[in-house]
């Protein structure tokens, strides 16, 4: 329950991975405000529809602005917001269904525009809010309420999808590593261009994969997640693809394009180059004079 509003009636299940993401977002936004000596109101959280999107109502302490819109449209909302107000810090929080299924059509265009926003995807491999249907990242053969024979579709590989779409900055992490995640979010927000922080954020109710992510040393099960080695060159797209194609989950910064010019700067530069200036309505009427 949001402290600022006791009437708010949404709750996450105990142990839900999204709690960790919430703490990392809170800390990253508060820190950003302090570091830049800006009010936290300069940040806007654009939330998708899903358990994950409810993060926007659960922020404790100083409150950023928020938009909790409709299913799958965080990216275009952020596009209009950032294009109209480049001075604002825009953060998206979305789920694997919201971002990679109904909202998938928006990833490519925003990546190509290189809008200067940071998207945090809480991937739990399931539709949580609608109670446990298969999502794009649900593994093959997994039984859910909509896949009684086990899932027939191959799972989507989000990290690879993002790189192919042309995302400028990509990090991957786990909801349990709150401090490290906070650091990645901060770096992503500082980055001038479209950045994604993809978080494995387990759903304890419908797809509890904590054990698989962590592995079990005693039983000789390797963890799914592993830290990206020190020597990885995040500026190298081929190296980034190699990590993204790994069947396990790399943790850290996968890709960071070096020559990123964000959308709003491209527009400013184009206007400078062409000398386009605003004509008054009176001047525009004059072009139509008989």
């Amino acid at each position: 329950m949001s402290k600022r509003n006791p009437e708010y009636d949404f709750k996450w299940c105990p142990g839900c991975g999204d709690f960790g993401v919430k703490r990392a977002v809170e800390a990253a936004l508060t820190d950003r405000a302090a570091t830049l000596s800006q009010p936290i109101e300069n940040s806007v959280i654009v939330a998708g529809i899903g358990c994950s999107g409810n993060l926007v109502h659960l922020q404790e302490g100083p409150q950023p602005f928020g938009i909790h819109g409709i299913h799958g449209r965080t990216l275009p909302i952020a596009y209009g917001l950032k294009s109209s107000r480049p001075d604002l810090n825009v953060l998206i929080v979305s789920g694997d269904g919201d971002f990679l299924s109904i909202g998938a059509e928006h990833i490519g265009p925003q990546a190509k525009r290189n809008i200067d926003v940071t998207a945090i995807i809480m991937d739990n491999g399931v539709y949580g809010l609608t109670k446990g249907q298969a999502s794009p990242t649900t593994e093959i053969e997994v039984i859910t309420s909509t896949t009684p024979y086990g899932k027939l579709d191959d799972p989507s590989r989000p990290l690879e999808t993002y790189l192919a779409a042309g995302v400028s900055f990509l990090a991957s992490t786990l909801s349990t590593q709150v401090k490290a995640m906070q650091q990645l979010i901060t770096e992503a927000m500082e980055y001038p261009g479209f950045s994604i922080v993809h978080v494995q954020s387990p759903c304890t109710t419908y797809n509890d994969n904590y054990a698989a992510l962590k592995g079990n040393e005693k039983e000789g099960i390797l963890p799914m997640a592993y830290p990206i080695e020190e020597g990885h060159d995040a500026g190298d797209i081929d190296a980034a693809y190699r990590l993204a194609r790994d069947s396990r989950i790399p943790v850290g910064i996968i890709y960071k394009r070096e020559d990123s010019i964000p959308a709003h700067e491209r527009l400013d530069l184009a206007r400078e180059r062409t000398g386009a200036t605003q004509k008054s309505v009176e001047e525009l009427f004059q072009t139509m004079a008989i």
């Binding site: 009437e7 275009p76 909302i77 209009g80 917001l81 109209s84």
Partner: protein, 569 residues
């Protein structure tokens, strides 16, 4: 002498029929005539039946015209399908290189050959325009003046082009003269007071929005609304302005929500298919109380329908574009001047009541070109949403109607929420909150019920109430009926939702309200009946606008049949 000339250029898409009508109209406007153009073409780049029409008059023009004085037919099909609209005194000018006609009213010109002879193979249109001018006794000097102005672009070769075009005009005129035919000559133009401009409907709408302080425009190409996006891309580019091409209408509306939330005045343009895709987003704007304007330029039919034709069949979906309890404000201009003011009002309304507004226009208005007096900018009112100073804390949705709008970066952080929410924008399912917030959203509409409306001969118990582009032809029919002594009232407003309260009261007292509208369903009539008004539609669903005489006949028929019924009973 006649005070009115209607010329239609008919042929195939890509043959310059629209250009031909626009050149003739622009030349006439330049020398002081009133003009109005209308065009219709299929949804393809080259080929398919197309025509462009110019109406030229010494009087103010209300519609694109009923009968043709001159039909320019560039192929047999164009002749066959348009000749029945030729007036009994009219002429046909046709391209005799394409086909032969056995019609005593027809003048064949080998226009392409003549253009080559004139030294400008691209001047076939000018040959035809010269012939038309001759037929109508329209001084060639006007056209020469216009051609000189149009092609003096400061480029090498301008002079040659001008010379070739002028020569072509004269060759066309000579050819027509030799055949010895002529129309009633057109009266000289009357002098018009004030600054005149030649403007298209979409330009007027864009300028109205810019005048009201538009900041961002984001759209996706779709006929017949693409022109607005294109106009904005090249005319709205101040340092704090943004224009973008979205990847779909779903993106357009979602991005407008982000932009409107950011504190900016925002707009998109679309047509039926795009409006359908925007339904959910418009619901979000209604729920979260985000000011934004969607210009929906109506075309024909459900699905892809008739992309390049005109219709008035989106009124119901404009008011209820998505699921759930909502009623989106709609302003529908009936003329080009009104397109300017309606767009400014749409931006103002969005600011005033803090929510989505639909500017509902039509292909036939958006694409029409007309001479108008430059809008009087001293009459322009620019409204800005009331902005929060933080004194409400986080309670953005406080109170039972409009409340101050917190702008990101400033005080009053809240969540703009599309789920039902409490004062701070946090999700709730409590019945009493849903009741309170639903009533709040509808109450805001009361701020928009003071719209202006026209009323004439209001004592009559039978009234006309057209909307949108049907205004012009209906008003012409009304004037004609009145001059014949028919007792009928005239009402008109561009504020269709919510309707002005005073207008509603007047309409409720009528025995019959006739609503000419271009659709099968008769959507405004349906809406009025739901409000207890005895409304009946006069419908047409051809993809084309009403003609004045057809409308007059249908109104007369209904009124007389009614009178007959009353005598019998």
């Amino acid at each position: 002498m006649s005070n009115n000339l209607v010329v239609r250029f008919a042929g195939e898409g890509g043959q310059g029929v629209v250009g031909g009508s626009e050149i003739l109209a622009a030349a006439a406007a330049a020398v002081g005539y009133h003009i109005l153009t209308f065009s219709t073409f299929p949804s393809q780049i080259k080929g398919g039946p197309a025509w462009g029409q110019a109406r030229i008059s010494t009087e103010e023009i209300l519609s694109s015209g009923d009968e043709l004085d001159v039909l320019v037919a560039l192929n047999q099909y164009a002749y066959d399908h348009n000749v029945e609209e030729l007036s009994s005194t009219g002429f046909v000018v046709y391209n005799s290189e394409e086909f032969e006609l056995d019609d005593p009213r027809a003048i064949g010109l080998p226009a392409d050959q003549m253009a080559r002879d004139a030294g400008n193979p691209r001047a076939a249109n000018m040959i035809v325009i010269g012939a038309v001018a001759q037929l109508a006794d329209f001084p060639l000097g006007y056209l020469e003046e216009f051609v000189t102005k149009r092609f003096s672009r400061g480029r090498p070769g301008d002079e040659q082009i001008i010379e070739g075009n002028i020569k072509a005009l004269h060759m066309g005129a000579e050819a027509a003269k030799e055949l010895g035919m002529s129309l009633d000559s057109l009266e000289s133009p009357k002098s018009i007071e004030g600054e005149r401009i030649l403007i298209k409907g979409f330009e007027a709408a864009c300028l109205g929005a810019i005048a009201a302080g538009l900041d961002s425009f984001i759209g996706y190409p779709i006929s017949p609304a693409t022109t607005m996006l294109v106009y904005m891309e090249s005319n709205l580019h101040g340092s704090d302005k943004f224009v973008g091409q979205a990847s779909s209408e779903i993106e357009s509306i979602a991005s407008l929500i982000g932009a409107g939330f950011s504190g900016k005045k925002v707009m998109t343009s679309t047509a039926g298919p795009g409006l359908s895709l925007m339904g959910e987003g418009l619901g979000l704007a209604w729920m979260a109380e985000i000011p934004l304007v969607v210009a929906n330029i109506q075309r024909g039919g459900p699905a892809t329908g008739l992309p390049t034709k005109t219709e008035q069949s989106d009124l119901i979906v404009a008011i209820n574009p998505g699921h759930g309890d909502m009623s989106v404000p709609v302003i529908a201009p009936g003329t080009i001047e009104e397109a300017f003011w309606a767009a400014a009002d749409a931006v103002n309304w969005a600011e005033r009541y803090q929510g989505p507004v639909i500017l509902l226009s039509e292909a036939s208005i958006a694409e029409r070109q007309q001479d108008i007096l430059k809008p009087d900018m001293s009459k322009l009112v620019v409204e800005n949403r009331s902005v929060s100073d933080g004194s409400e804390g986080n309670e953005r949705y406080k109170g039972d109607a409009v409340s101050p709008f917190p702008v990101p970066g400033g005080p009053g952080a809240y969540v703009a929420n599309g789920s039902e929410h409490d004062e701070q924008g946090d999700t709730t399912h409590l019945p009493d909150v849903h009741i309170r917030m639903t009533e709040r959203r509808f109450k805001k509409l009361e701020l928009l019920m003071d719209g202006h409306y026209e009323a004439e001969n209001t004592d009559s118990s039978i009234a006309l109430l057209p909307w949108g582009s049907s205004k012009g032809p209906t008003y012409a029919a009304f004037q004609s009926l009145r001059s014949k002594g028919e007792d009928i009232a005239w009402y008109y407003t561009m504020y269709l939702n919510p309707l002005p309260t005073a207008l509603l009261d007047e309409l409720l007292s009528k025995d019959l309200v006739l609503v000419p509208e271009l659709s099968y369903l008769g959507q405004l009539a349906q809406i009025l009946r739901a409000k207890g008004i005895k409304a009946e539609p006069i419908t047409q669903y051809t993809g084309l606008p009403f003609k004045e005489n057809v409308l007059e006949a249908r109104i007369t028929e209904i009124v007389q049949e009614r009178a007959g019924r009353m005598l019998v009973s």
